[in-house]
Amino acid sequence: MNWTWFHRLGSPPHIYRIAGTLTPWFAWPAGLLIVAALYGGLVLAPPDYQQGEGFRILYVHAPSAWLAVMIYGVMASAAAVGLIWRMKVAHAVAASCAGVGAWFTAVSLVTGMLWGKPMWGTYWVWDPRLTAQLILFILYLGYMGLRAGIDDLGRADRASAVLAIVGVVNIPIIRYSVEWWNSIHQAPSVMKMDRPSMPLDMLAPLLMMLLGFTLYFAAILLVRLRAEILRRERTASWIREVLR
Protein backbone atom coordinates (compact mmCIF):
# COMPACT_ATOMS: atom_id res chain seq x y z
CA MET A 1 0.00 0.00 0.00
CA ASN A 2 1.22 3.45 -0.81
CA TRP A 3 1.54 5.61 2.25
CA THR A 4 3.01 8.72 0.69
CA TRP A 5 -0.31 10.57 0.81
CA PHE A 6 -0.41 9.86 4.51
CA HIS A 7 3.00 11.29 5.11
CA ARG A 8 2.44 14.23 2.84
CA LEU A 9 -0.72 14.92 4.78
CA GLY A 10 1.27 14.73 7.97
CA SER A 11 4.07 17.02 6.86
CA PRO A 12 4.32 20.07 9.10
CA PRO A 13 4.10 22.79 6.41
CA HIS A 14 1.01 21.14 4.97
CA ILE A 15 -0.70 20.83 8.32
CA TYR A 16 0.34 24.34 9.23
CA ARG A 17 -1.40 25.73 6.16
CA ILE A 18 -4.50 23.57 6.48
CA ALA A 19 -4.83 24.49 10.13
CA GLY A 20 -4.62 28.16 9.23
CA THR A 21 -7.38 27.85 6.66
CA LEU A 22 -9.66 25.78 8.82
CA THR A 23 -9.51 27.83 11.99
CA PRO A 24 -12.13 30.44 11.06
CA TRP A 25 -14.48 27.70 9.89
CA PHE A 26 -14.56 26.41 13.43
CA ALA A 27 -14.11 29.64 15.30
CA TRP A 28 -17.07 31.56 13.87
CA PRO A 29 -19.74 28.89 14.30
CA ALA A 30 -18.35 28.22 17.77
CA GLY A 31 -18.72 31.87 18.72
CA LEU A 32 -22.22 32.11 17.30
CA LEU A 33 -23.39 28.92 18.94
CA ILE A 34 -22.00 29.87 22.30
CA VAL A 35 -23.62 33.31 22.21
CA ALA A 36 -26.93 31.83 21.13
CA ALA A 37 -26.75 29.15 23.78
CA LEU A 38 -25.90 31.70 26.44
CA TYR A 39 -28.91 33.73 25.42
CA GLY A 40 -31.09 30.66 25.38
CA GLY A 41 -29.75 29.39 28.66
CA LEU A 42 -29.47 32.56 30.65
CA VAL A 43 -32.48 34.47 29.33
CA LEU A 44 -34.99 32.27 27.58
CA ALA A 45 -34.88 29.13 29.67
CA PRO A 46 -37.20 29.23 32.68
CA PRO A 47 -35.69 29.04 36.17
CA ASP A 48 -35.60 25.56 37.58
CA TYR A 49 -38.47 24.95 39.94
CA GLN A 50 -36.15 23.43 42.53
CA GLN A 51 -32.88 25.19 42.03
CA GLY A 52 -33.99 28.62 40.94
CA GLU A 53 -31.55 30.66 38.87
CA GLY A 54 -28.51 28.84 40.18
CA PHE A 55 -28.92 25.98 37.76
CA ARG A 56 -27.82 28.17 34.85
CA ILE A 57 -24.20 27.46 35.71
CA LEU A 58 -25.00 24.08 34.17
CA TYR A 59 -24.57 25.58 30.71
CA VAL A 60 -20.89 25.99 31.33
CA HIS A 61 -20.41 23.15 33.74
CA ALA A 62 -21.79 20.17 31.88
CA PRO A 63 -20.28 20.88 28.44
CA SER A 64 -16.85 21.46 29.89
CA ALA A 65 -17.12 18.25 31.89
CA TRP A 66 -17.98 16.30 28.76
CA LEU A 67 -15.27 17.94 26.73
CA ALA A 68 -12.67 17.19 29.36
CA VAL A 69 -13.17 13.49 28.80
CA MET A 70 -13.49 13.78 25.05
CA ILE A 71 -10.26 15.75 24.74
CA TYR A 72 -8.38 13.10 26.64
CA GLY A 73 -9.58 10.63 24.05
CA VAL A 74 -8.44 12.86 21.21
CA MET A 75 -5.10 13.36 22.91
CA ALA A 76 -4.51 9.67 23.46
CA SER A 77 -5.50 8.80 19.89
CA ALA A 78 -3.14 11.42 18.51
CA ALA A 79 -0.38 10.14 20.77
CA ALA A 80 -0.97 6.59 19.60
CA VAL A 81 -0.84 7.64 15.96
CA GLY A 82 2.37 9.51 16.63
CA LEU A 83 3.93 6.57 18.39
CA ILE A 84 2.91 3.94 15.87
CA TRP A 85 3.41 5.78 12.60
CA ARG A 86 6.12 8.08 13.88
CA MET A 87 4.19 11.13 12.83
CA LYS A 88 5.59 14.23 14.44
CA VAL A 89 2.48 16.24 13.71
CA ALA A 90 0.39 13.79 15.68
CA HIS A 91 2.61 14.33 18.69
CA ALA A 92 2.18 18.05 18.23
CA VAL A 93 -1.60 17.54 18.26
CA ALA A 94 -1.37 15.56 21.49
CA ALA A 95 0.80 18.21 23.07
CA SER A 96 -1.66 20.91 22.07
CA CYS A 97 -4.59 18.95 23.47
CA ALA A 98 -3.21 18.56 26.96
CA GLY A 99 -3.41 22.17 28.03
CA VAL A 100 -6.90 22.67 26.65
CA GLY A 101 -8.12 19.45 28.24
CA ALA A 102 -6.71 20.36 31.63
CA TRP A 103 -8.29 23.75 31.32
CA PHE A 104 -11.75 22.36 30.57
CA THR A 105 -11.37 19.91 33.43
CA ALA A 106 -10.47 22.74 35.76
CA VAL A 107 -13.47 24.75 34.57
CA SER A 108 -15.83 21.86 35.20
CA LEU A 109 -14.35 21.33 38.65
CA VAL A 110 -14.51 24.98 39.63
CA THR A 111 -18.01 25.58 38.28
CA GLY A 112 -19.13 22.37 39.96
CA MET A 113 -17.66 23.48 43.26
CA LEU A 114 -19.20 26.92 43.00
CA TRP A 115 -22.51 25.31 42.27
CA GLY A 116 -22.08 22.79 45.02
CA LYS A 117 -21.86 25.43 47.73
CA PRO A 118 -25.43 26.70 47.29
CA MET A 119 -26.80 23.30 46.33
CA TRP A 120 -25.23 21.01 48.92
CA GLY A 121 -23.89 23.52 51.39
CA THR A 122 -20.33 22.41 50.74
CA TYR A 123 -17.84 22.88 47.97
CA TRP A 124 -16.98 19.25 47.65
CA VAL A 125 -18.47 15.81 48.16
CA TRP A 126 -16.81 12.53 47.31
CA ASP A 127 -19.26 11.61 44.60
CA PRO A 128 -17.95 9.12 42.03
CA ARG A 129 -18.28 11.53 39.11
CA LEU A 130 -16.57 14.28 40.98
CA THR A 131 -13.80 11.94 42.06
CA ALA A 132 -13.32 10.58 38.58
CA GLN A 133 -13.16 14.10 37.22
CA LEU A 134 -10.56 15.00 39.82
CA ILE A 135 -8.45 12.00 38.86
CA LEU A 136 -8.75 12.98 35.22
CA PHE A 137 -7.40 16.36 36.16
CA ILE A 138 -4.45 14.73 37.90
CA LEU A 139 -3.81 12.57 34.85
CA TYR A 140 -3.63 15.71 32.76
CA LEU A 141 -1.25 17.26 35.25
CA GLY A 142 0.93 14.17 35.19
CA TYR A 143 1.00 14.17 31.41
CA MET A 144 2.03 17.79 31.28
CA GLY A 145 4.54 17.29 34.08
CA LEU A 146 6.18 14.45 32.23
CA ARG A 147 6.35 16.49 29.06
CA ALA A 148 7.88 19.42 30.89
CA GLY A 149 10.33 17.18 32.67
CA ILE A 150 12.02 15.85 29.53
CA ASP A 151 14.23 18.20 27.59
CA ASP A 152 14.51 16.37 24.34
CA LEU A 153 11.43 16.95 22.22
CA GLY A 154 11.33 13.56 20.55
CA ARG A 155 11.79 11.79 23.84
CA ALA A 156 9.14 13.90 25.54
CA ASP A 157 6.76 13.12 22.70
CA ARG A 158 7.19 9.40 22.89
CA ALA A 159 7.30 9.08 26.66
CA SER A 160 4.17 11.13 27.12
CA ALA A 161 2.49 9.15 24.36
CA VAL A 162 3.06 5.94 26.29
CA LEU A 163 1.58 7.62 29.36
CA ALA A 164 -1.46 8.86 27.45
CA ILE A 165 -2.14 5.39 26.12
CA VAL A 166 -1.74 3.76 29.52
CA GLY A 167 -4.07 6.41 30.88
CA VAL A 168 -6.72 5.74 28.29
CA VAL A 169 -6.71 2.05 29.18
CA ASN A 170 -7.12 3.08 32.79
CA ILE A 171 -9.78 5.75 32.58
CA PRO A 172 -12.72 3.40 32.16
CA ILE A 173 -11.32 1.20 34.92
CA ILE A 174 -10.95 4.17 37.21
CA ARG A 175 -14.47 5.37 36.41
CA TYR A 176 -15.90 1.96 37.05
CA SER A 177 -14.03 1.52 40.29
CA VAL A 178 -15.03 4.86 41.81
CA GLU A 179 -18.59 4.27 40.75
CA TRP A 180 -18.47 0.94 42.52
CA TRP A 181 -16.69 2.39 45.53
CA ASN A 182 -19.33 4.94 46.26
CA SER A 183 -22.36 2.85 45.43
CA ILE A 184 -21.20 0.37 48.04
CA HIS A 185 -20.48 2.98 50.63
CA GLN A 186 -23.92 4.46 50.00
CA ALA A 187 -22.89 8.02 50.49
CA PRO A 188 -25.64 10.62 50.66
CA SER A 189 -25.87 11.10 46.92
CA VAL A 190 -27.02 14.64 46.59
CA MET A 191 -26.02 15.16 43.05
CA LYS A 192 -28.77 14.15 40.69
CA MET A 193 -27.21 14.42 37.33
CA ASP A 194 -29.32 12.00 35.42
CA ARG A 195 -32.65 13.59 35.71
CA PRO A 196 -35.08 11.65 33.53
CA SER A 197 -36.57 14.48 31.60
CA MET A 198 -35.45 17.99 30.99
CA PRO A 199 -37.76 20.48 29.35
CA LEU A 200 -36.81 21.25 25.79
CA ASP A 201 -36.21 24.94 26.39
CA MET A 202 -33.62 23.96 28.97
CA LEU A 203 -32.11 21.14 26.95
CA ALA A 204 -31.74 22.89 23.60
CA PRO A 205 -29.35 25.58 24.83
CA LEU A 206 -27.34 22.88 26.59
CA LEU A 207 -26.88 20.89 23.42
CA MET A 208 -26.05 24.05 21.49
CA MET A 209 -23.49 24.90 24.11
CA LEU A 210 -21.98 21.46 23.85
CA LEU A 211 -21.63 21.77 20.10
CA GLY A 212 -20.29 25.28 20.48
CA PHE A 213 -17.69 24.15 23.00
CA THR A 214 -16.65 21.30 20.75
CA LEU A 215 -16.15 23.63 17.82
CA TYR A 216 -14.37 26.05 20.07
CA PHE A 217 -12.06 23.22 21.12
CA ALA A 218 -11.37 22.40 17.49
CA ALA A 219 -10.56 26.02 16.72
CA ILE A 220 -8.32 26.51 19.72
CA LEU A 221 -6.62 23.20 19.00
CA LEU A 222 -5.78 24.38 15.49
CA VAL A 223 -4.38 27.64 16.78
CA ARG A 224 -2.28 25.91 19.38
CA LEU A 225 -1.19 23.33 16.86
CA ARG A 226 0.12 26.06 14.59
CA ALA A 227 2.03 27.59 17.46
CA GLU A 228 3.38 24.19 18.43
CA ILE A 229 4.48 23.48 14.86
CA LEU A 230 6.19 26.84 14.64
CA ARG A 231 7.99 26.16 17.89
CA ARG A 232 9.12 22.74 16.79
CA GLU A 233 10.15 23.66 13.30
CA ARG A 234 11.68 27.00 14.08
CA THR A 235 14.90 26.12 12.29
CA ALA A 236 13.30 24.64 9.19
CA SER A 237 13.52 26.58 5.99
CA TRP A 238 9.81 26.51 5.16
CA ILE A 239 9.10 28.57 8.26
CA ARG A 240 10.98 31.49 6.81
CA GLU A 241 8.84 31.34 3.70
CA VAL A 242 5.66 31.18 5.73
CA LEU A 243 6.59 34.05 7.96
CA ARG A 244 7.81 36.24 5.16
Binding site: L146, L163, I174
Partner: protein, 229 residues
Protein backbone atom coordinates in the same frame (compact mmCIF):
# COMPACT_ATOMS: atom_id res chain seq x y z
CA UNK B 1 35.71 -21.48 23.55
CA UNK B 2 32.34 -22.64 22.33
CA UNK B 3 29.94 -19.77 22.66
CA UNK B 4 26.39 -20.73 23.58
CA UNK B 5 23.90 -17.92 23.50
CA UNK B 6 21.80 -17.26 26.56
CA UNK B 7 18.08 -17.79 26.05
CA UNK B 8 15.68 -14.97 26.81
CA UNK B 9 14.33 -17.01 29.67
CA UNK B 10 17.63 -17.52 31.40
CA UNK B 11 18.60 -13.90 30.76
CA UNK B 12 15.47 -12.88 32.63
CA UNK B 13 16.37 -15.33 35.37
CA UNK B 14 19.80 -13.75 35.59
CA UNK B 15 18.30 -10.30 35.99
CA UNK B 16 15.96 -11.56 38.68
CA UNK B 17 18.65 -13.31 40.69
CA UNK B 18 20.96 -10.36 40.30
CA UNK B 19 18.41 -7.96 41.74
CA UNK B 20 17.67 -10.31 44.59
CA UNK B 21 21.35 -10.81 45.33
CA UNK B 22 21.96 -7.08 45.24
CA UNK B 23 19.21 -6.65 47.81
CA UNK B 24 20.65 -9.37 50.00
CA UNK B 25 24.01 -7.60 49.91
CA UNK B 26 22.31 -4.75 51.68
CA UNK B 27 19.71 -6.24 53.97
CA UNK B 28 18.69 -2.79 55.16
CA UNK B 29 17.04 -2.45 51.78
CA UNK B 30 14.69 -5.29 52.58
CA UNK B 31 13.62 -3.80 55.86
CA UNK B 32 13.15 -0.26 54.65
CA UNK B 33 9.77 -0.48 52.93
CA UNK B 34 8.49 -2.52 55.82
CA UNK B 35 9.59 -0.04 58.40
CA UNK B 36 8.12 2.72 56.31
CA UNK B 37 4.82 0.90 56.11
CA UNK B 38 4.85 0.39 59.86
CA UNK B 39 5.65 3.99 60.61
CA UNK B 40 2.86 5.31 58.38
CA UNK B 41 0.32 2.86 59.73
CA UNK B 42 1.26 3.60 63.31
CA UNK B 43 1.68 7.33 62.86
CA UNK B 44 -1.79 7.57 61.59
CA UNK B 45 -3.63 6.53 64.73
CA UNK B 46 -1.29 8.87 66.59
CA UNK B 47 -2.89 11.80 64.90
CA UNK B 48 -6.37 10.31 65.12
CA UNK B 49 -7.49 8.30 68.09
CA UNK B 50 -6.18 5.45 70.20
CA UNK B 51 -9.59 3.70 70.41
CA UNK B 52 -9.38 0.28 68.76
CA UNK B 53 -13.05 0.33 67.88
CA UNK B 54 -12.67 3.47 65.82
CA UNK B 55 -9.33 2.39 64.47
CA UNK B 56 -10.80 -0.81 63.10
CA UNK B 57 -13.05 1.27 60.90
CA UNK B 58 -10.14 3.07 59.31
CA UNK B 59 -7.84 0.02 59.23
CA UNK B 60 -8.55 -0.96 55.59
CA UNK B 61 -7.79 2.54 54.38
CA UNK B 62 -4.66 2.88 56.47
CA UNK B 63 -3.31 -0.53 55.48
CA UNK B 64 -3.87 0.03 51.79
CA UNK B 65 -2.74 3.61 51.64
CA UNK B 66 0.33 2.63 53.65
CA UNK B 67 1.16 -0.31 51.41
CA UNK B 68 0.58 1.82 48.33
CA UNK B 69 2.87 4.60 49.48
CA UNK B 70 5.58 2.24 50.73
CA UNK B 71 5.63 0.34 47.48
CA UNK B 72 5.65 3.60 45.52
CA UNK B 73 8.52 5.08 47.47
CA UNK B 74 10.67 2.02 46.87
CA UNK B 75 9.88 2.27 43.18
CA UNK B 76 11.96 5.33 42.65
CA UNK B 77 15.11 3.30 42.91
CA UNK B 78 13.83 0.55 40.60
CA UNK B 79 15.58 1.91 37.52
CA UNK B 80 17.52 4.89 38.81
CA UNK B 81 20.69 3.06 39.63
CA UNK B 82 20.53 0.88 36.55
CA UNK B 83 20.13 3.99 34.46
CA UNK B 84 22.99 5.88 35.99
CA UNK B 85 25.55 3.10 35.88
CA UNK B 86 24.80 2.11 32.30
CA UNK B 87 23.06 -1.19 33.04
CA UNK B 88 19.92 -0.24 31.15
CA UNK B 89 21.96 0.60 28.06
CA UNK B 90 23.40 -2.89 28.22
CA UNK B 91 19.90 -4.33 28.59
CA UNK B 92 18.96 -2.63 25.35
CA UNK B 93 22.00 -3.71 23.34
CA UNK B 94 22.44 -7.22 24.72
CA UNK B 95 20.19 -8.77 22.14
CA UNK B 96 17.66 -10.10 24.64
CA UNK B 97 14.00 -9.06 24.56
CA UNK B 98 13.78 -6.00 26.76
CA UNK B 99 10.24 -6.97 27.77
CA UNK B 100 11.50 -10.12 29.44
CA UNK B 101 14.19 -8.24 31.33
CA UNK B 102 11.68 -5.63 32.46
CA UNK B 103 9.30 -8.32 33.63
CA UNK B 104 12.14 -9.85 35.63
CA UNK B 105 12.98 -6.53 37.24
CA UNK B 106 9.34 -5.97 38.15
CA UNK B 107 9.09 -9.41 39.66
CA UNK B 108 12.19 -8.72 41.71
CA UNK B 109 10.68 -5.49 42.94
CA UNK B 110 7.53 -7.27 43.97
CA UNK B 111 9.44 -10.01 45.77
CA UNK B 112 11.46 -7.40 47.61
CA UNK B 113 8.68 -5.01 48.55
CA UNK B 114 5.17 -6.18 47.70
CA UNK B 115 5.55 -9.61 49.22
CA UNK B 116 7.18 -8.48 52.50
CA UNK B 117 4.59 -5.71 52.80
CA UNK B 118 1.84 -8.26 52.46
CA UNK B 119 3.37 -10.50 55.08
CA UNK B 120 3.78 -7.54 57.38
CA UNK B 121 0.19 -6.36 57.07
CA UNK B 122 -1.36 -8.78 59.62
CA UNK B 123 0.95 -7.47 62.33
CA UNK B 124 -0.11 -3.92 61.67
CA UNK B 125 -3.69 -5.07 61.33
CA UNK B 126 -3.62 -6.41 64.86
CA UNK B 127 -2.26 -3.11 66.10
CA UNK B 128 -5.23 -1.46 64.43
CA UNK B 129 -7.71 -3.82 66.07
CA UNK B 130 -8.41 -6.06 63.10
CA UNK B 131 -9.74 -9.48 64.18
CA UNK B 132 -7.51 -12.48 63.45
CA UNK B 133 -10.16 -14.16 61.29
CA UNK B 134 -9.83 -11.39 58.75
CA UNK B 135 -6.13 -12.01 58.16
CA UNK B 136 -6.30 -14.60 55.34
CA UNK B 137 -8.55 -12.31 53.33
CA UNK B 138 -6.32 -9.32 53.92
CA UNK B 139 -3.22 -11.29 53.02
CA UNK B 140 -4.69 -12.59 49.82
CA UNK B 141 -6.03 -9.28 48.64
CA UNK B 142 -2.73 -7.53 49.36
CA UNK B 143 -0.89 -10.28 47.55
CA UNK B 144 -2.90 -9.62 44.40
CA UNK B 145 -2.96 -5.89 44.80
CA UNK B 146 0.76 -5.36 45.33
CA UNK B 147 1.52 -7.27 42.14
CA UNK B 148 -0.50 -4.75 40.18
CA UNK B 149 1.07 -1.88 42.06
CA UNK B 150 4.56 -3.08 41.16
CA UNK B 151 3.55 -3.42 37.52
CA UNK B 152 2.00 0.03 37.30
CA UNK B 153 4.99 1.41 39.11
CA UNK B 154 7.45 -0.11 36.68
CA UNK B 155 5.78 1.74 33.83
CA UNK B 156 5.92 4.99 35.78
CA UNK B 157 9.54 4.46 36.75
CA UNK B 158 10.43 3.80 33.13
CA UNK B 159 8.65 6.92 31.98
CA UNK B 160 10.38 9.17 34.48
CA UNK B 161 13.82 7.80 33.66
CA UNK B 162 15.10 10.87 31.89
CA UNK B 163 13.49 13.26 34.33
CA UNK B 164 15.75 14.82 36.90
CA UNK B 165 14.23 14.88 40.38
CA UNK B 166 11.55 12.62 39.06
CA UNK B 167 10.57 11.25 42.45
CA UNK B 168 7.49 13.33 42.96
CA UNK B 169 6.48 13.14 39.33
CA UNK B 170 6.68 9.37 39.52
CA UNK B 171 4.16 9.23 42.34
CA UNK B 172 2.01 11.74 40.56
CA UNK B 173 1.89 9.54 37.48
CA UNK B 174 1.35 6.24 39.20
CA UNK B 175 -0.93 6.99 42.11
CA UNK B 176 -3.99 7.91 40.00
CA UNK B 177 -3.51 4.74 37.99
CA UNK B 178 -3.44 2.80 41.23
CA UNK B 179 -6.85 4.07 42.34
CA UNK B 180 -8.76 0.95 41.21
CA UNK B 181 -6.39 -1.30 43.14
CA UNK B 182 -6.88 0.81 46.22
CA UNK B 183 -10.64 0.82 45.91
CA UNK B 184 -11.05 -2.90 45.38
CA UNK B 185 -8.33 -3.73 47.87
CA UNK B 186 -9.71 -1.60 50.66
CA UNK B 187 -13.17 -2.97 49.97
CA UNK B 188 -11.92 -6.54 50.16
CA UNK B 189 -10.20 -5.76 53.43
CA UNK B 190 -13.33 -4.19 54.79
CA UNK B 191 -15.39 -7.23 53.88
CA UNK B 192 -12.75 -9.48 55.43
CA UNK B 193 -12.90 -7.50 58.67
CA UNK B 194 -16.67 -7.63 58.84
CA UNK B 195 -16.52 -11.35 58.09
CA UNK B 196 -18.36 -11.30 54.76
CA UNK B 197 -17.41 -12.93 51.48
CA UNK B 198 -14.78 -10.96 49.63
CA UNK B 199 -14.82 -12.87 46.37
CA UNK B 200 -16.21 -9.94 44.37
CA UNK B 201 -13.39 -7.48 44.94
CA UNK B 202 -10.86 -10.32 44.85
CA UNK B 203 -11.94 -11.25 41.34
CA UNK B 204 -11.62 -7.65 40.30
CA UNK B 205 -8.15 -7.43 41.85
CA UNK B 206 -7.21 -10.59 40.01
CA UNK B 207 -8.47 -9.18 36.74
CA UNK B 208 -6.42 -6.04 37.25
CA UNK B 209 -3.34 -8.12 38.00
CA UNK B 210 -3.80 -10.18 34.84
CA UNK B 211 -4.28 -7.06 32.76
CA UNK B 212 -1.16 -5.57 34.32
CA UNK B 213 0.94 -8.66 33.76
CA UNK B 214 0.08 -8.70 30.08
CA UNK B 215 0.45 -5.01 29.34
CA UNK B 216 2.79 -3.41 31.85
CA UNK B 217 6.11 -5.04 30.86
CA UNK B 218 5.48 -4.00 27.24
CA UNK B 219 4.82 -0.43 28.27
CA UNK B 220 7.79 -0.44 30.65
CA UNK B 221 10.13 -1.70 27.94
CA UNK B 222 8.92 0.97 25.53
CA UNK B 223 9.32 3.59 28.23
CA UNK B 224 12.86 2.51 29.06
CA UNK B 225 13.93 2.57 25.42
CA UNK B 226 12.59 6.07 25.07
CA UNK B 227 14.07 7.17 28.36
CA UNK B 228 17.59 6.18 27.39
CA UNK B 229 17.81 8.25 24.23
Amino acid sequence: MTVRRTTAFSAAGLVLTRDLRLAVRRPSQLIQPLAFFAVVALLFPLGYTPELGKLRAIAPGVLWVGALLASMLALESLFREDASDGTLEQFVVCGQPLVALMAAKTLAHWLLTGLPLTLMAPVLGIALGVPVEAMPGILFSLLLGTVTLSLIGAVGAGLTLGVRRGGVLLSLLTLPLAVPVLVFGARATELAISGESLMGPLYLLGALAVLGITLAPLAAAAAVRIGLE
